[in-house]
Each structure stands twice: as C-alpha cells, then as structure tokens.
Symmetry: C2
Subunit: 234 residues, 2 copies
C-alpha cells in the first residue's frame, strides 16, 4: 500500500528555466547589464550534473547545491560578459534558485495528495533552498528530504534508501514523482514505486524526457491528474 510520495524538485515541481530567465531579466534592467539570459539559465543548469559529479567522485569535499551553484556561476560569468558582477550581485544571482515559481498545478495538487499521503521533496537542492521554495510558493510538505541530509546526490542509492529509512516505510510503500526517466529508473532499482509527470522544463527546444519510459508505474499529466489516478487505485 502506498504511504508516501517524494518529489523531484527542479523541473518536476518548479519551473527553473522560466523563473531564472524572468529573474535575470529584471536583474539586468535594474543593474543595466545585458546578456543572453535564456542561454545562461540553461548553461547554469547544465553545469549541475558535472559539478555534483566532482563531489560524488570525491574530487572536492561535500558542497551543498548553493555552493555548487556559486562555483558554476563564477565559471560561467566571463562567457556571458558578467565578469564585472561584484560579490553581492553574485550572491543575489545564486539566491534566484530559492525564488523559483512552481508549475500552476503544484500547490493544489500537493494539497490533494497530502490528504492521503505523506509528501515531501527528495531533491539535490539543499534544505534551506527547499524551505524557501516551499514557503514562497505556499506548497505544503510534511518533511524536507534533501541530498544535503544524506551527503549524497541523486542518483546515488543512498538518497532513495535514506528516504525509505527516514520515512519508516517499506520501499514499495514509497513513490518517487519526477519528470525525469533516469531519476525514476534509479528509484525503481531501490524498490520505490514511480510516477512520471511530463514537464516542458527546457522550453520548446526540449528533446529528452518528453514521455515516460516503459516500466514506470503511473504516468500523469500533472499533480492533479496524479492525485486522481492514485485515488482511483486506492
């Protein structure tokens, strides 16, 4: 019996690309700087995997996602003509990741899912970042599960197994909800149930994760649709 749902955050619950572009555009107007903001947003997001990989391989000590975002921003800034940004500006840009907007179905869908299930993020975002996202978007969780707690980034099995242990459930009583097939496959290998929600997180140019792979347990168009499907099953 399903008892708890954990959610991928960037892309699945929050529109990082659209939000970052809007935040950068406002920042650029205020500071009088121009850059290819959509390309910067995408490059920044693309730096995320390799930066975590350095932590995973032990090449750098543990760093939370805020710290990884800062490192990759500093690496990208010269390429986008932003090398003149001072310390305060750079800190402000890193904070944009705490100010993302949720997809419109997330707040009502999460509330409905929470009536029957324990709900929380299971994200590579650090705890303070996830708290800020939830409070700003008024999305109510029962718990915050983060790579920062496990000192391992997804897709390391320690994250999925850590969620199982802290929630005190059997693997099959827990479902990962994500817009990314890879995340769901890794969760399934740890025994979790899986739900795919398609999101156009990369905009019109998106080429991957357009549909669920075979073997995903539930495919939903958004969280309200997921709630309806789980209620039918239950």
């Amino acid at each position: 019996m399903l008892r708890a749902l954990v959610f991928d955050v960037f892309g699945t619950l929050f529109d990082w690309r659209g939000s970052l572009i809007r935040l950068f555009e406002r920042f650029g107007r205020e500071r009088g700087v121009e850059a290819d903001w959509p390309a910067l947003a995408e490059s920044w997001r693309e730096a995320y995997g390799p930066s975590m990989e350095r932590v995973r391989r032990g090449e750098v000590p543990w760093m939370n996602l805020d710290a990884l975002h800062r490192t990759s921003f500093d690496e990208l800034a010269p390429r986008y003509g932003l090398e003149a940004l001072d310390e305060d500006d750079r800190k402000r840009c890193v904070r944009f990741w705490h100010e993302l907007e949720a997809w419109p179905d997330v707040r009502p869908g999460m509330a409905r899912l929470r009536e029957r299930f324990v709900v929380g993020p299971l994200s590579n975002g650090n705890v303070a970042l996830l708290i800020d996202l939830a409070r700003r978007a008024r999305v109510e969780f029962d718990v915050i599960l983060s790579a920062e707690i496990f000192r391992h980034y997804k897709p390391d099995a320690e994250t999925y197994r850590g969620a199982i242990e802290l929630l005190g459930v059997a693997p099959g009583e827990l479902m990962l909800v994500a817009a990314h097939n890879g995340d769901l496959h890794n969760a399934a290998e740890c025994g979790l149930q899986t739900a795919f929600v398609a999101r156009a997180e990369w905009g019109s140019g998106q080429t991957s994760d357009l549909a669920a792979d075979a073997g995903i347990d539930v495919v939903a168009s958004d969280l309200l649709d997921l709630a309806a499907k789980l209620e039918l099953e239950g």
Copy 2:
C-alpha cells in the same frame, strides 16, 4: 535578526504523559489488562535518557527513538504485569508515541509564528514519528529536524549545529523553544537564542523546569504568548 525557530517536542509541544495515560487506559479496556498506567508512562519516559546515553557512549549501535522505546518497553513490561503482551500489542504501544496530543496553543501558535519565521521541530524523536505527530495534530512545520538526521541525540552539540547548518542561518538567527532549561542552556552554548515555555508535562507532581533559569532570552506562557512577544521585538 531572528529567522528561524526550532522546537523541542516531547513536553514542549506534545503532552506525552496525559496522552500516553489516555491511550493506555483505552488499550487496557480493549485488551482486558490493568496496570498502573500513569506510573508506566512516567517510567517509560524516564528510561529515555539512559537509553540514549547507551547510544551516545557507543555501547549499542545507532537506534532511532522508536527502537529505544521498544527496548525500554520490553524492559519495563514485567514490572507492570505486562509480560504477556504479544508482539502486535508491543508494537501498538510503541506507536502511542506517534499519537500524542499537542497542547492546545500549539496549532494556532505555530501558525502565527510561521508567518514570520521558518519553524520546525528539533527533537530526539525519529523523522517518521515527528511527521505522524504533526499530521495528526495538524501542526504545520517548514522542516523536520531530528536527531535521526544527525545521528546524535540532544544535548550533543551536533544537533544544534546541524540545525544551524541545514537552515543556512547564523547561530544567533536561530532560536530554540523548549520547556527544559537544560536543552536551552546547551543550545545557548552553540550560540542559539532561547525561549522557555513552562509546561506541566509531569502533571501536578512536577518538580523541575517549573520556571526559566536566568539567562534565557524570552520567557513565554505558551506559543501564542511567544508569538506576541517576538512580534513586539521585531
């Protein structure tokens, strides 16, 4: 500037003694067993410190609070004439700790505090237990901080420092709210602000923690009073 509040749970937010007595009385009627339930509730609670101490000294491997509660229940059962309880009954009794009632001011007081501050438990209770308590009492937290995450029980400094790190705050931006002077002193040594809320958690026979020690930053009669006092300061 104060940004976040963390709360002791057993005694400070939840009436473990009154709740356990009521749950045991109902259990006793259903199962046709009698025992000195108030004395059992108090003995069980008193076993908590020594049982954590065994973990702290490394005499036993890490065990979460559910596991410690089970061990101490099994030790106490013969003394209360409960040695005949079977496995299911014992599991049910351990689950009583997930079903405690909050003091009446906790739900409205927490909602009011949460308007201005990040709020969460900082408890020796395990994560699943804290989630269950919050959901049943409809107390809304932003995050669950538990000894289970830090693999250290309060009053180890790793718990207070762990809360600081995960919340991404400076020590002085975080306040511990507790009905126990000892907990508050230990938090203050890690740089946290402190608030004392008096609770008659041991009933009319309570002899300790009747009032705040000198040096506590804020003394409040309950969480609504605490909210009013912090709003005046802010």
